[in-house]
């Protein structure tokens, strides 16, 4: 477990240093994510492992533990928001409408474009089982 946690911290640390050092618009943890995937790809080439081995590894267990409780991690920030409700103030109803309308529009457009392009690409390149 500790080795898995160390791996996550180390990837994030390198990501944070790179993001700050080069003033990239990408957050450090996202760079850390990419580093982890690249590391797993390289590791699998050097010493092949299967999916079950990854799941049973320290990294696999820490990752599924964290991601299984991902929503919990937003609670402190969410509580912070309740302290700033006054800021919404007079624009509350307009902002509420904008958030609901925009989220609905974004979900519909994104899923629609994804499926439409997938269907088009599938016609060009058939045999995609998914």
């Amino acid at each position: 477990m500790i080795n898995g946690l160390l791996l996550l911290f180390a990837c994030q640390l390198v990501g944070e240093i790179a993001a700050r050092g080069f003033s990239l618009p990408v957050p450090g943890p996202v760079l850390g994510l990419l580093l982890l995937v690249a590391g797993l790809v390289a590791w699998n080439r050097a010493r092949p492992f299967d999916d079950a081995a990854l799941q049973a590894s320290g990294l696999g267990r820490v990752a599924s533990g964290l991601l299984g409780s991902l929503a919990l991690l937003f609670v402190p920030a969410g509580v912070g928001v309740t302290q700033h409700l006054g800021l919404v103030g007079e624009h509350g109803p307009a902002l509420g409408l904008a958030l609901v309308g925009s989220t609905l529009a974004t979900l519909l457009v994104t899923v629609g474009v994804f499926l439409a392009v997938k269907r088009l690409a599938g016609r060009v390149e058939p045999g995609d089982p998914s």
């Binding site: 996550l8 911290f9 994510l33 937003f74 920030a77 904008a98 989220t103 994804f114 998914s130």
Partner: protein
């Protein structure tokens, strides 16, 4: 030790509010489980309301609460890195969907900004608030930076980001089911793009493939939004 000196001790240690955060989460998550993970019973919202009520009742300020809650908050970074594991495990499926993802990202990221700003502007919301609203679909750290650089109010942006996350997490399952969309890659990608980490958390409770694609969309849209919002602001 009297009750008041006990309170002085408890109030000074991060242990109390860390424990409260985890306990509130277990209650909220228990309610969500009991509802069969119904979309409307959002555990983040319930836990936040429980903690906020308790803070209010005990007259505790947010910095004191955060002394304890920071240990949970801190894990957001490592959890983001941990998204690399499901991403790696589903790499083949991700590769097959590169084209749909690129197209959905290009269109979705613009719609997320323009629709929110458009609706609010039509309702007479002033520019400083519009700037705070524009990056609401991306993870709070990035959104606050974008908003601040353009003269917005970062803490208002944080509030709008969290609200967007909860709205998307509540909306996505009933919406996609009503539309009979069973492609979990597409469903996940949409909710991660529209509602960042809170949408991604919801996607993981529905389907691991949906969670993976939500995580990818969240990361990609954070980058795209950080680039396009300042660009759009300079045009308007």
């Amino acid at each position: 030790m009297t009750a008041s000196t006990l309170w002085v001790y408890l109030a000074a240690t991060p242990l109390l509010w860390l424990t409260v955060t985890l306990a509130a989460w277990l209650v909220a998550d228990g309610l969500a489980k009991a509802s069969g993970r119904h979309a409307l019973v959002n555990p983040v919202l319930i836990a936040v309301v429980l903690v906020a009520l308790l803070l209010h009742a005990t007259g505790t300020d947010y910095p004191t609460y955060f002394e304890g809650a920071q240990f949970v908050h801190f894990l957001l970074g490592p959890a983001t890195v941990a998204l690399g594991v499901p991403l790696y495990r589903n790499l083949a499926q991700v590769r097959r969907n590169l084209l749909p993802m690129a197209a959905a990202l290009a269109v979705g990221s613009v719609v997320a900004v323009v629709s929110a700003v458009g609706i609010a502007a039509a309702l007479g919301v002033p520019r400083a608030v519009l700037v705070s609203l524009a990056p609401k679909s991306v993870t709070a750290g990035i959104a606050m930076g974008v908003s601040e650089a353009l003269g917005g109010v970062p803490s208002l942006t944080a509030a709008l980001v969290i609200a967007t996350g909860i709205i998307g997490a509540v909306m996505v399952t009933p919406l996609m089911n009503a539309l009979r969309i069973r492609d979990y890659a597409a469903r996940g990608f949409a909710v991660g793009l529209a509602s960042h980490g809170i949408g991604t958390a919801r996607a993981f409770t529905v389907d691991p493939v949906a969670g993976t694609f939500a995580g990818i969309a969240m990361g990609l849209n954070a980058v795209v939004t950080a680039v396009i919002v300042p660009l759009m602001a300079s045009l308007v």
